[in-house]
């Protein structure tokens, strides 16, 4: 495209089809915890690949 560059992102609508395994890390916005925020968390399925 001439005017628009689209970054490579996970399509969230698509992720609805095979997501929801619940194996991912607990999320917490506070970094005083073991957890991570939603934005900086990795999908556990992807991490295993």
């Amino acid at each position: 495209m001439e005017h628009i560059q689209t970054l490579n992102t996970r399509n969230l609508c698509e992720s609805a089809k095979n997501g929801g395994c619940g194996e991912c890390q607990t999320s917490c916005q506070s970094a005083c915890k073991t957890s991570c925020g939603i934005a900086n968390q990795q999908c556990e399925k992807k991490a295993e690949k």
Binding site: H3, I4, A16, G19, S27, A31, T34, C36
Partner: protein, 461 residues
């Protein structure tokens, strides 16, 4: 829904529901803003008028731009609809009753006397206490028994200062390791410490057993020592920094966070980040203080613009140092655009009170560490399990659609509805909204996505 913003020469358009991130030129930026509001000809006319002085912006060029936008819309990458609402409770429903993470308050006592401590110097507004091995072991058994088919279990050793009960911590880890295989589980331990009691034994243990270590350092010596003092009033910076350096050096690349708190005393917290970098630390976090309005440490309205500027400058520093081959990580700017969590997770909320709970030294269960000491939030205990089902139901119902204010927020799928404890402390309800926190969060997300976009640009040359 889309969100558009500009930062340092990049025009960024976020497609909220698909998670799409687009870098666009000026013409496309203006056209996207009008696209859903006006019919095609009006959009083209308005943009043509604005760029009338530019020879390169021809009618044909504008039509091409319009077609690009339409193509992205048709592909579900722009102006995508929010169709997730019916799924909002699905993940929590599917995993109802499953606990996968515990925050073990192994010490409700502390060897520091930080005035800004949300946990009232580790006591959580109650008595000083340390957790016995028996209570800790029952907590681990409770976690195993309630974790269903989930394999990875997270346990955070927290306080107060957990190293004041280090022998119990070591025994609990040994116990967990002795049963995890047989039970089909994998424990991931984290230790959060102020550093005073770090010695070679702690370093060896932390580096062998802990997936992550969170080390409390507020940055500049004068800032750190303002609040992080011992009971004699002496600052702790000089004592802990050498210990932190030794631990991190020995850690050999395993995860850690140098974690600071910024307050009204240092809204210019970028200077504290720079101090941490100068000390050789590269995995960093700075968090706004959690305290009551009116507390001398509390951030004020006047601090906000300063804080927002820090976040922008921090993103610039991150990009600059990455370019120079001296990268660092800032917790809130870690964002995995291509491999982040699925939408179920993004709309489910944080899991406090359901999949995650805090355990007091006496074995009581609370929705998370920030609710410990608030008696009405006590969920039950590690022997009987959750008995306060009404309060648990309130937490189970927390999701991104539970708060009116989140529905029109572009950042909702990056934050998942925010922190229940912050909401409670700001509004009296776990389903309220802590507006200042939202403002800071949105700014952080803009900066994080900008930094990622810069990375992509630079990798493509």
């Amino acid at each position: 829904m889309i969100h558009q913003y500009k930062m340092d020469g990049l025009n960024i358009v976020l497609d909220v529901c698909s998670g799409g991130v687009h870098l666009v030129d000026e013409v496309a930026y203006d056209m996207i803003a009008l696209y859903e509001r006006e019919p095609r000809e009006k959009v083209l006319a308005a943009v043509a008028e604005k760029y009338a002085g530019r020879e390169d912006v021809t009618r044909k060029d504008l039509e091409t731009c319009y077609e690009e936008i339409t193509a992205l819309k048709d592909a579900g990458q722009l102006f995508s609809e929010d169709s997730f609402r019916p799924m909002a409770g699905a993940l929590k429903q599917k995993t109802a009753g499953v606990v996968k993470a515990l925050c073990l308050h192994v010490a409700h006592t502390c060897n520091l006397n930080c005035a800004y401590c949300f946990a009232s110097q580790g006591k959580y507004h109650g008595d000083r206490a340390v957790m016995s091995y028996e209570v800790g072991r029952q907590a681990l058994d409770f976690l195993i028994a309630n974790s269903g088919t989930r394999r990875n279990l997270e346990v955070d050793f927290f306080g107060g200062e957990p190293l004041m009960n280090f022998d119990t911590v070591k025994r609990l880890v040994a116990y967990a390791r002795s049963v995890e295989k047989e039970k089909g589980k994998n424990f991931r331990f984290t230790l959060t410490t102020n550093g005073l009691l770090i010695d070679d034994d702690v370093i060896d243990f932390a580096n062998r057993e802990c997936a992550n270590v969170v080390l409390s350092l507020d940055g500049r010596k004068e800032i750190h020592d303002r609040y992080r003092v011992d009971y004699a009033g002496n600052g702790s910076w000089d004592r802990i920094v050498p210990k932190f350096r030794k631990l991190v050096e020995a850690r050999g690349g395993k995860n850690y966070y140098m974690r600071g708190t910024f307050t009204h005393a240092n809204p210019d917290f970028l200077k504290d980040i720079e101090t941490m970098l100068d000390l050789g630390f590269t995995e960093l976090s700075m968090e706004p203080v959690v305290c009551a309005e009116g507390d001398p440490a509390a951030l004020t309205e006047e601090d906000l613009p300063i804080v927002l500027r820090q976040y922008e400058d921090l993103a610039r520093l991150l990009v600059r140092r990455r370019r120079e081959g001296r990268p660092f990580t800032f917790y809130h700017y870690m964002i995995d655009l291509s491999g982040g969590p699925c939408v179920y997770k993004r709309i489910s909320g944080c899991g406090s009170g359901t999949e995650y709970m805090a355990v007091t030294p006496w074995g009581d269960l609370y929705p998370c560490h920030q609710f410990v000491g608030e008696e009405s939030f006590r969920l039950g205990d590690i022997w009987q399990g959750v008995t306060n089902l009404e309060t648990q139901a309130d937490f189970a119902a927390c999701n991104v659609y539970a708060r009116e204010e989140c529905r029109d927020c572009w950042a909702r799928l990056y934050c998942s509805g925010g922190c229940a404890a912050n909401a409670y402390h700001a509004t009296g309800s776990v389903r309220g909204v802590y507006r200042t926190g939202c403002e800071l969060f949105r700014k952080r997300m803009e900066c994080a996505i900008w930094a990622e976009a810069m990375r992509t640009r630079e990798e493509q040359g």
